[in-house]
Symmetry: C2
Subunit: 88 residues, 2 copies
């Protein structure tokens, strides 16, 4: 929702790795968790932060919740960074 939320979300290594995992398509929470040595509660916390930053979206499929990468906000960040790196 804001640059603040986005950069805060991206400032954690685990969360960046989650985004990388989702690069190739949606994954359930369990599938994501299999890549990390953290508790389910901690993973859920990270997913909440990524979701609030609109970097991922979720959809429920029966017993599972699938998370999917949302590139819109990332595109916005690129625009912000380019406004710094490109000539006036």
């Amino acid at each position: 929702m804001s640059y603040q939320d986005t950069f805060k979300a991206l400032s954690d290594k685990t969360r960046r790795e989650i985004l990388t995992l989702l690069r190739d398509g949606p994954l359930s929470v369990g599938e994501i968790g299999a890549h990390f040595d953290i508790s389910g509660a901690t993973l859920s916390h990270h997913l909440t932060i990524l979701r609030q930053a609109d970097l991922i979206s979720d959809s429920k499929k029966g017993k599972f919740i699938y998370y999917e990468l949302n590139t819109t906000v990332l595109d916005d960040i690129i625009v912000w960074i380019k406004s710094l790196t490109e000539e006036a």
Copy 2:
């Protein structure tokens, strides 16, 4: 030096605003500080974090220290983000 350092540095609003100020050329610490309502010590702390992330570099000119934007790391961040947003 690492994505971690870079994203951590970018996760603070004051630090992002400092980078925006430096977009149009180097500024002394005092000139930067004039734009914020924070103590010199706090500003110095933010500059240290930006410098450690290699987002800025400094050069001493007599009594003053000038800080300058360093775009290399920002270009790296764009590459990282694009690796997420672009097709495989």
